[in-house]
Each structure stands twice: as C-alpha cells, then as structure tokens.
C-alpha cells in the first residue's frame, strides 16, 4: 500500500517533470507592438521599459532560451565584427560594463533598433521586435555587474573570454601604464 502511494507520488513528479516551459515562437502582434513602444528620455539614453516586459516577468533577461537566441543573433547579424566577443573593436566593449549610452535595457534596445550616430547601424528593419529584445538581453549579460539566474549556453566556437555569466564587469585592467623609461 505504502509502496503504491510512493510510486504514485513519484510518477506524479515525473509527469510534472515532463511539462516543458511553454514557448511562443511568434509573439502576439499586440504584445510585440507594446514591447516596441519604449519610452526613452529625450536624449535617447535610458527611459522606461515597456510595462509589458515587466508584466511578462522580464523574459529577455531571465529566460535561458531567449538569451540563447540572442547569442545566435549576435553571430548571425555580424555584431562580432565590431564588438568582438564583448571586448570591442571599432565598436565599444560590452565586457567592461561601461556603456556609452547607459546600462538600461531601453538604451541597448534603442541602440540596436535605431542605431547610433558614431557608426552603429540600425537593425530595426532587419530584426523583429522580439529578436531585438533577445539580443538586448544577451548583450546585457556579457557585461553584467552581478550574476544572473539565467545564462546562455557555452561557445561552440573558439573560447575567447570568460563565459557570459562568469564575468562580472570590472574596471580597467592593471597593465595600463604608459612607459616613461625607454624600452631597452
């Protein structure tokens, strides 16, 4: 009898374990529209995130699937070409946690959607609103100040830097002295 109850409880757990996170492969158009309606400050730095994002529980920051999608988009849309794996090249670094337009999700979202004057192209006509949010979420994990509960999967490619969730942002590296004595 007891064994029967135990089996029943265990199998209930197993059945529950089979239930997977439900995934929307296409956002409902009204939700997508409201996620696109960010309210930046007049200088386009910072501002209020869409309420929908809060109501949904910030899915682009806390959901590993979305972060992974963001990581894929990061490669597919040539982000690496200018920002490398977060260390920067012609574009600024993300790893350092120093953001030219502030660390807020709204700023990052606007940078991707509308571009920025010093060379950042606009991706608004190349990505859907959801994809821009996924990319926003991923980019923010690269330079996160504190560990997040969700992380994208590891690099398939060349391991070039600490994993996204293991590199809390710090200030500059120590070997930055400009030499005063002649070399040799």
């Amino acid at each position: 009898m007891m064994r029967g109850v135990g089996t029943l409880v265990l199998s209930l757990f197993l059945v529950e374990g089979c239930a997977r996170e439900s995934r929307n492969f296409r956002l409902d158009p009204p939700i997508a529209a409201s996620l696109d309606a960010v309210a930046p400050m007049p200088n386009r730095i910072g501002g209020a995130a869409p309420e929908t994002d809060t109501v949904l529980g910030q899915p682009y920051l806390t959901n590993a699937y979305n972060l992974n999608q963001g990581k894929q988009l990061y490669t597919w849309f040539n982000c690496q070409g200018c920002h490398a794996d977060g260390g920067g090249a012609t574009g600024p670094a993300f790893l350092s946690g120093w953001w030219r337009y502030g660390p807020q999700a709204v700023s990052v979202f606007i940078s991707i959607r509308d571009g920025r004057p010093e060379g950042m192209p606009a991706f608004g006509n190349r990505l859907t609103t959801e994809q821009i949010w996924q990319l926003t979420g991923y980019v923010r994990t690269i330079g996160a100040y504190s560990a997040q509960t969700a992380a994208p999967s590891r690099n398939d490619a060349m391991q070039s830097r600490p994993s996204e969730n293991r590199a809390p942002a710090t200030v500059a590296t120590p070997s930055d002295e400009w030499p005063t004595a002649p070399s040799r």
Binding site: G81, A84, G88, P117, P182
Partner: protein, 597 residues
Amino acid sequence: MLLAPRLRIRRGVSPNLDQVKHVGTLAPAVLLGLCLQSSAVLATSAGPNADEPKSPAMSVDPATRSSSLAQIDRHNVNQLEPVFTFRTGRLGAQGSAPLIRGDKLLVLSAFPHTLFAIGLARSNGTLSWQFSPTANRVADGLHCCDRTHLGPVAVGDRIYFSTLDGHVVAVDAEHDTPVWDVAVADPGQGETLASAPTAAAAELIVGNAGDDYGARGWIAALDRATGRTLWKHYSTGPDQDVGISADFKPAGPRDQGSHSWPGTAWQHGGGSVSGWISYDPRLQLVFHDTGPPAPWNPDPRPGDNRWTSGVFARDARTGEARWFVGLHPHALFPWRNGSANLLLDHTWEGAPRALLVHPDADGRLYVIDRQTGKILAADSYISYPRVARRASAEQTPRTNVQVRDVCPAWPGALGGDAALDQTTGRLYLPVSRLCMDLEGRSANYLQGTAFIGANVRVTSSNESDGAVVAWDVISRRAVWSIRERFPVASDVLVTAGGLVFYGTLDGRLKAVDAQSGTPLWQFGTSAPITGQPTTFVGPDGRQYVAVVAGASGPYGLAQQAWIDRRDATAARGLARVIANVGRPRDPSGTLYVFGLP
C-alpha cells in the same frame, strides 16, 4: 642673410605650445648624449646654408619615402631636440604626414578631420588657420582595420585631402576656403577612404577602403579642377568594370572578376585600394594593391576571387589595366595590403630596368618589372623563429575549423610603409612578427556591418614582435635588422643624411644609422607613433623632422581606451598582444617638430 628668424621654443606663450613638459620625457641617455656631444656640435653644425633652396616643393619623395635633405646627419642627429608641439585634440593620428608649404606646416587631424595650418617663421608654431569639413560620424565605426594615410597633398595653389567618411576636398592654399568637396565613397556601404590622393598628370587618384565591410574595391581619378570623376574601375566584376581591355597582358578568359566567384559574391567581395597609389610619370602608369577578398573565411568564396590580393598597373589617363600580379588567388588569410609600391630604376642582372618594389604583407619582397608585370624576385624578409612552418595548405581555415600559428597575423608582416633609398637600392622595412589562430565562421553580408566570418586571436611569436629590416633590393639580402619589442607600426623615412627614422608603439621616435643600423637618437612622445615621420626645410633654411604621434590603424585600435582585454578576440584579436604597451598618456594626436639647436 642670417636675419631670418629661427624657430625656437617660446616658453609659455601660446596655448598650442606644451613643449616644456615633453622635454622631461627625453630618454636620459639622449640627454647624456647631448652633453657629451656638445663639443662636436660646434664643428659640424655650421648654421643655415645660404645656398640652401628655400622650401623645396617636395621634401620627402612620396614615391619612395626618402628625402634628399642632409643637414641632419649621423653626426649631429643626437642633438635633435623638440622645437614645438601642437596638439590636434582628436583621438589618434590616422597616419597623417605633416606637409610643409611655404612658411606653414599643414597637418590633417584624425577623424572628424580638421586641416591645421601652423605658422613657422615668426609665429613659431601658432595656428594660422584651420578648416573642418562637415563629417559623417558613421565612418567612426568603420575605420578598422586598414592603416590610414590621410595627409594633405599640395599641387599648385591648392591642397587636396581625402576624408575618412568618403569625401575628397580641395582647399585654397593661402586661405581656409574650400574650392570643391565631392563625396566619392559611401560609408553606408562600409566604404571609407584610407589614403591621401595621389596627384597624377591632371588628376587626383583615390581608392576606397572597406574590405572588412564587404565593400567592393575601386580606384577612381578625379579632375583636379572640379572634382569630377574622370574614370572609375573596380577590383571585382566583369572586365568592363575592372577596366580590362585589349591592352591587358597577358590576355586571359573573359570576366574572371565575376566568374572566379560564386554567384554574385563579387559584388561585396572586397579588394579595396586602401594603400598608397604610386604614379610613374615616365610610363604614365599608376600602381596599386588590391586588398584581400571578403569575407575572411575562404569557405564561402570558392574560386580565385579575382582581382583581389594583388598588384595592378593601370594607365593613368584612362584607368585601363595593363597588367595584374595575383599574389594570393583565393586568399586564405586576410592579410592587408602590403606596403606602398616603390619605384626603383636600377640595373637588374646587368641591364637597367624599371622596377616596382612590392613588400607584401605575406612576408615576402616582390621585385616586379614595371612595364610587363613579370616577377623578378620574391624573397622572405622576415622569419618566425618559434613557429617553424608558415602559412601552408594544411592550415586552410574552414568554417568551424580552427587553424593555429598562422604567421604572419592578419595585419600582415609590415606595420607601415617601407622607405627606399634610390641611390643605394636599399629598402627599410617596418616589420610585425605576430602570428594568429583563426577559426572560420559562417558570415552573412549585411550592408554596413562587418563581413568577416572569422574568430581570430593574435599571438606573439616571441619576445620581439617587431623589427626594422634594411634590405638590399639588388643583391637580395638583409643588410641589418633591429629587433623591436612591439610591432613597428609607423612608416619609415630615410634621408640623405644617412639616417632612418621610425616610430614605435610605445611612443619613441627613433633615428638609426642607415649604413649600420646603430641607434643614434630617440625621443619619447605622449602617444604611440603609427604615422609617417617626415622632414622638411623650414622658412629659415634649416632642416626639421616632424611626426604626428597618435594611435591609428589596427595596432592603434588595440590601444584605445574602450577595448577590454579579457576578450582574446577584442580589436580583431590584437588587444592582448598590444596590452603590454600600455594606454597612451595622451590619446590625442600631437604634432612634434624637431630641429637642431
């Protein structure tokens, strides 16, 4: 006769003069040298020579980067001291060489550009006038990773310069008034301009940069009077676009520029003309490199990828191609354009011959017959001790496959442009000895974004990552070489005074004996030297040496403040290798002018 005022340091007069504090960065050895040599000075420096021509039109021959000036020589160079400095206030230097014109020194700042005219005679280094064309800041994000040489060029009563954001501007030499300003390259397509225009017969010849953004390479001639485009030819595509007609030798199959590419890949296949374009007035030919094909990963572009990664000779009047030397068909590695092609008329194997000396980014020096395009010699001017094998067929980068220890690294074996001494046939090469690990990735062409398809990590081959090599072109051997700790990213200048000038990434302008390579003088600047040292005769008849210090090009990018070195691929993989240099004390481009006391 001697009343012409000399350039002197005026202390604390002009806001543009911050000379005094830089004297403190003089290497102690140099100061010691100054003291020890002071007696010898009296014997050698006889003061300005009355017979010296006043401000010769060309102080440094742009075709060879050599100068016939000899007032500063190996005996008195150790007395060279700063006369004045001028801070441009722009990040970096972008390879601008200052240009003497009358009693003014013209300096083009880094982007967004300002052309400064600095008075020399009585005004002593104060700003005479300045001119800033409107700038499209999108180009800021596009100046990776070609070396840039955006200096002013003077012809007649006009000054011409190219801007990073794709304009060519003509300015009246006496005033700050623009004569014309035409847009020739579109930053929206990833195109920029990386070199100063070359003045040919009645034209200005310009070429685009932007291999890394999938821009299609082209070269164009502008009418000097109006800026109108006279001809324009591409590096890829059908014969008509490339300018291949009956004059092209040897004749080959038609339309190789598009047939050696899959589908329409040639439309964004790179092959830029970002280096210095050489002009031979006798043969009426221009010579130029074509950049590597895009993307870096060779997998998605099977075929020879004509006409990228090679050297073209074109008719200066029509732009029609005469010959092409394909140095790297289906380029496996994204080596940049080599150094500028240098013209040398010299006896070769017993007969006088018109030679084109092409130091390539692959580490070899090609000597080419200027008239026919025949390769006469190809010698390695650089060795990589730690890595026994060079780039080879086994090291073919493919999608999702990593190849290691490819030498040279992607910026190529040359950090800057070489200088050629016409009289001795000796070439002075600024060398980078870095290697790289490269992993091919799939790449999508998106207009205006980087089209690379590679993860790259640059590695240091040993403790000496750079060198300056003196190479005898005729006898095909190295004469001497100086090891440098960092890649030498500046251009080299050779003068008739028997001196070779170059700069280092840790901010030293150095002068060495051209004969023996013995170091003779150095000066510590506040920023890396990645540009072109130059020399000129001032209005007082005395010779000066000038350089704009400031980070530019691939190595300069790796030193910028926004680069995070925890990422091995930052700054296209260069960040960690350059990390030991340190960040510049002053990131602004600064002009330094040196003279004898």
